[in-house]
Amino acid sequence: MNSERKKKPRVAVFKFASCDGCQLSLLDAEDELLAVAGAVEIAYFPEASRAMLKGPYDIALVEGSITTHQDAERIQQVRRQAKTLVTIGACATAGGIQALRNWKDVTEFIRVVYPSPQFISTLKLSTPIAEHVPVDFELRGCPINHYQLIELIAATLAGRKPNIPAYSVCLECKRQGNVCVPVAHGTPCLGPVTQAGCGAICPAYDRGCYGCYGPMESPNTASLTSQFRILGQSDQEISRAFRSFNAWAWQFRKASEECERA
């Protein structure tokens, strides 16, 4: 039995600029949660436990993007304490929806939104964790799929490669027997350029893919953009399609900027 092994791996969960949805996915994994709690020591997880133990940690799960000077320093400390650092979700992996500000003037937002803007200190850009420290694995999604998180934890504990493919949503979609929404309905769908992992939820409910899992391993955004135009999408609409949760992932960013210029 695992519980008889000499030392349980220590897991920590850290939050940066994010909505907490990804770390909630771990609490949401009801069927597996007890097994996880039995297999690892939850050393630091403020959202779940008051016990906040000091590092070092075997696995650090990092949620959120870097948007402040303080966070830019804090991520360095997290990295120093973590043997394996895994980013969870689109914020940590691509900068998140808040990276939309990267195309705008953030000081103007601060002036408009906050009554006392002098108290706000922020960076100009929302950036992914990998721009600041080396990352061992990036778990995609907005939010992440809790089965993928459990698989990642199980694989890390067993010392094996996680079964988390980087190919397109289309493989998952077709394996499930869904009818292709762009071909059969003319609905624009980011599935062909988006990484699998969600289980093709949107196409299963007759909607196009929103690209929550970010760019797949070899995304041809230029070709998909041409096809979106054939389906009647304007350049502004296409640009907006690429600018959602993974807007700052470089392939989607490039695609959206090319449409903006067109």
Binding site: M1, N2, E32, A35, V36, G38, A39, I150, E151, I153, A154, A155, L157, A158, R160, N163, P165, A166, Y167, S168, C170, L171, K174, R175, Q176, G177, N178, V179, C180, P182, V183, A184, H185, G186, C189, G191, P192, V193, D206, M216, E217, S218, P219, N220, A222, S223, L224, S226, Q227, I230
Partner: protein
């Protein structure tokens, strides 16, 4: 001997097959397409529907009134039943310090009966038979599903714009072995079926239906209807010398042009009724006490497909598209003794950007013919 059936007999046919213990699988309308699913009676069939297909485009629309098989082919093929998209190969538990394997995949509880198998699909099943059953390496998952299957073929009397079975020699008339072969005739004067049994099982089922011997005139009309499905085909694949053509043109500039359009999304391989590649995934749970091995459809368009020590062999989309097309149309012949393409046109229709393999081959052939080789 061919028999004439009234359309009501199709419902009786479905029930006769179900009575024999088959899970009857056939065409039905779901989410704006004709898909294959379990059917209980003729009420589940796509009555009055037809499809309009082009590269990257599929639409259902009203077809001949009352026709039960008035469509051509939808996005799915029978591959989804004979070679399932995901199969658990085994699971294992750690018990008393030992690793115990808990059984292999069970065949489906009921054998399958396929209703509405097109000529190109029969050809595709024959191609997969050669892949999975012909050699000394037999696939038990495929074999357990394939061996007992009852095949009811339905000949096409119309073609989609993406069909090219006539040029591949696989249709539209049914040439492969089916237990029953039907031809549906719908016109202003009436609606009826021709039925022919292809063996003892088929004869037994046919004997339970109300039928009358077909007249010469009825046979002639059915023949004409199937011929018109061949005549309607606007796409064709020139197959003469195609193996050498592709082998001699690995560096043709056309591969770069198609790579600029290819999404490497793998849709063509998923919808192809003969593409058979799979990956095997081992997984353990968090406790480390339970493990499973799964087999899933994979594709030569993924990077991991060609991953070996040091990286992926086919990292460019050009290399991946070329691999797929050259295997399908050329090296398949060396490997399995026939083309891997049956001309169903699914890869053309269901490519999200409408890449057309007949056009790609034509482009390569065209420039070669104007050049200096006689391939």
């Amino acid at each position: 001997m061919q028999a004439r059936l009234a359309p009501e007999e199709i419902d009786k046919l479905i029930r006769a097959l179900a009575r024999r213990g088959y899970a009857v699988l056939g065409p039905t309308v779901r989410d704006g397409a004709v898909v294959y699913d379990e059917i209980e009676g003729a009420k589940d069939l796509p009555r009055g529907w037809t499809d309009e297909q082009e590269a990257g485009r599929y639409r259902l629309k009203p077809g001949p009134a009352g026709a039960l098989f008035g469509y051509t082919v939808g996005p799915q093929s029978w591959k989804k039943y004979l070679h399932p998209a995901q199969v658990k190969l085994f699971e294992a538990d750690r018990q008393d310090g030992l690793f115990r394997i808990l059984g292999s995949p069970a065949p489906p509880a009921r054998p399958y009966a396929f209703l509405g198998v097109r000529a190109c699909e029969l050809a595709a099943i024959a191609v997969q038979d050669r892949v999975f059953l012909a050699d000394r390496f037999r696939d038990p998952v495929y074999g357990a599903r394939r061996t007992p299957v009852f095949l009811v073929a339905v000949q096409c009397t119309q073609a989609a714009a993406t069909c090219f079975c006539a040029s591949m020699g696989t249709g539209p008339e049914v040439r492969g072995a089916a237990d029953l072969t039907l031809t549906e005739i719908v016109n202003g004067e009436g609606h009826w079926f021709l039925a022919e049994a292809g063996g003892e099982r088929g004869q037994e089922v046919l004997a339970e239906l109300d039928r009358q011997p077909a007249t010469e005139e009825e046979l002639r009309r059915a023949r004409t209807a199937v011929e018109s499905a061949a005549a309607q085909q606007v796409r064709r694949m020139e197959t003469a010398g195609i193996r050498d053509l592709l082998y001699q043109n690995f560096e043709h500039p056309r591969w770069d042009q198609v790579a600029a359009r290819c999404l490497t999304c793998a849709n063509c391989t998923m919808v192809c009724p003969t593409c058979f590649c799979t990956t095997v995934e081992d997984a353990s749970d968090v406790t480390g006490d339970h493990a499973e091995r799964w087999r899933r459809w994979d594709s030569c368009f993924t990077l991991t497909f060609s991953y070996i020590h040091g990286g992926s062999v086919r990292s460019s989309s050009k290399a991946r598209y070329r691999q797929w097309l050259t295997h399908k149309l050329a090296s398949w012949i060396d490997q399995f003794g026939s083309s891997g393409c049956v001309g169903c046109g699914r890869c053309i229709t269901w490519c999200p950007v409408g890449i057309d393999l007949t056009e790609e081959v034509q482009a390569i052939r065209g420039t070669v013919n104007h050049g200096n080789t006689d391939a």
